[in-house]
């Protein structure tokens, strides 16, 4: 009897769908102890990009709103962090992080109010235009250092009564803080996915007219999603500013917005793990093609294989990496049945 119960327990545990995620978190947590400095930096950058991609997933994957200007909120939060941090002592990120996120959320609410009046391809264009607008505000005006960018003088730390609890100047601490935030954002988005709000958004994606007929004020829901996505992108922006201690207008450029859309489609639109996978896949591809060890002198033309890879991935794997097992199964099925 006991053995039977034990066997069932083992089967249930191994069938838990959360295993891949748990393993991933453990691997990321252990990495700084085994990887070289440069590669730990790379993973750190990718985790920040994952948060960015996750925030956009809420818009594109769940609500069906393709925004080509999401980098604007990433950048606004990063700049807010740099501008608000004082030049003397280390600012406490207890207020700096919320401040950055709030700025991004406010911008998202305002910009969203304008953009959401457009539909379909016009929506894509208008989000692009507003992102370009914010880019030029930071690039051309004296507001924040112009095209040369702006420096964060001192990185933030959380102090209580003079005792430093979390010092983000310490690279290790910063790495783990980022990991914690990544897990938090993932959890929040997963919870939203199961909530009434999340289901309403999914309904809007499927058929907006029907949702409106059913009595939902779709504009309000869309605006809420847009603002929330902007706020989450703000978390990534804050982390980016603190990581390098430097922000420049290029983080607002449409290339950045395009890159994050690419990450989503690479990983697989519609799933949270797709967003994270896509971010890692994108960064890995870039590093791979830039590697002089593999490509020698040709490595300086890394954008060529990257462009071809992008085209190939979008054409052949339109549902992304997460859908690869299903795609392969479908591919193999006729062969299995042939015999």
């Amino acid at each position: 009897m006991k053995f039977r119960r034990f066997a069932i327990l083992v089967r249930q545990t191994s069938a838990w769908r959360g295993w891949p995620l748990a393993v991933a978190v453990v691997v990321l947590a252990v990495f700084p102890h085994v990887g070289g400095d440069f590669y730990v930096d790379l993973v750190l950058t990718t985790m920040i990009l994952s948060i960015f991609a996750l925030s956009l997933e809420l818009l594109v994957g769940r609500t069906g709103l393709v925004s080509f200007g999401h980098a604007a909120f990433f950048g606004i939060a990063a700049y807010a962090t740099a501008l608000l941090s004082p030049s003397g002592a280390a600012p406490s990120h207890a207020w700096l992080l919320p401040a950055g996120v709030a700025t991004a959320a406010l911008a998202a609410a305002v910009i969203g109010a304008f953009c959401l009046r457009a539909r379909g391809v016009y929506f894509i264009m208008v989000t692009l235009a507003f992102a370009q607008m914010t880019y030029f505000v930071f690039h051309d005006t004296k507001l924040a250092g112009g095209s040369d960018g702006l420096y964060l003088n001192v990185k933030p730390a959380l102090t209580l009564d003079g005792i430093t609890i979390v010092d983000l100047r310490n690279p290790r601490t910063f790495y783990y803080a980022t990991l914690v935030l990544l897990v938090l954002v993932y959890a929040v988005l997963a919870a939203i996915g199961r909530s009434r709000f999340g289901h309403a958004l999914a309904g809007i994606r499927a058929n907006e007219q029907r949702m409106r007929a059913a009595g939902f004020s779709t504009y309000g829901y869309k605006l809420a999603a847009f603002t929330l996505a902007g706020a989450l992108a703000g978390i990534a922006g804050f982390l980016h500013a603190v990581k390098d201690g430097f922000v420049s207008p290029e983080i607002l450029a449409w290339h950045q917005s395009g890159a994050v859309l690419l990450m989503l489609i690479l990983g697989g639109i519609g799933t949270l793990r797709g967003a994270v996978l896509g971010a890692f896949a994108f960064v890995l591809m870039k590093e791979l093609f830039q590697s002089e060890a593999l490509f020698g002198a040709f490595a300086k033309h890394w954008q060529l294989p990257l462009g071809l890879a992008v085209i190939a991935c979008v054409a052949l794997m339109p549902n992304g990496i997460v859908a690869l097992p299903t795609q392969l199964r479908r591919f193999r099925a006729p062969l299995l049945n042939a015999g």
Partner: protein
Amino acid sequence: MDFAVFLVQCLNAVQYGLLLFLVASGLTLIFGILGVINLAHGSFYMIGAYLAYALAPLAAAHSGGGFPAALAIGVVLSIVFGYVLEWVFVSYLYEREHLQQVLMTYGLILVFEELRSIALGDDVHGVAVPEWLAGSVPLGGVMTYPVYRLFMSGVCLLVALALYAVIARTRVGMAIRAGATNREMAQALGVDIRLLYRIVFAAGVALAVFAGMLAAPVTSVYPGMGNQVLIVSFVVVVIGGIGSIRGALLASLLVGFVDTFGNVLVPQIAGVLVYVLMAAILLWRPEGLFRTG
């Protein structure tokens, strides 16, 4: 500013606007008729400029007829290139969602940039203005206006008129207008949509390449020149209305004026003004100035 200077700045604005029109008209045709968001359109402009640089020795060798010959060669090459590109790549984009089109054409930008880098290098180049256009016309007391810029405006205007003539007065134009309004109906009525799409795409590419070749002496030839033009062209297309040539013309001139006078009067925010213009127009007319279909 006094009146004479104001007139000269208007000349500058019109010249920039007309050049923008060449690029935007191709984009609006591709966007409106084929329904494809083609981010690589800026790359065609860049290809045109580099083509002008590559063909410059040829142009210099035959002093009088060299430059028009180079332009003609460029146009022919680009039509062939556009035709082939549509056949092997773009035709697979019609059935896909906008996001996939955006990303695949984004990959195309990367490919074109690197191919250009491999073939012609990454340096910034100047292209010489042909001898017979190299003079300057005196305007007012102090300054002169380069003849070449006047030539550019003239040529762009001619192309605009030719485009109008083709679209409004020929059978091909009629088929294009029909395809833009209602694709399925046009197909049902016997228009060979596949061939039409190929022609329209090739024409769009040729317009952008031609614009790049024409602008090369004025803007210099440098990597990344396509990106700037791309975004502004999209803004023009959206302001003018997707698929409308008339809209593209009006919108390009509007953008030309806003940009030129913005750079002179309020240089700090000049970059933002164009987008503010777009936001304002979209608030007033959500589908652009002139809608089609």
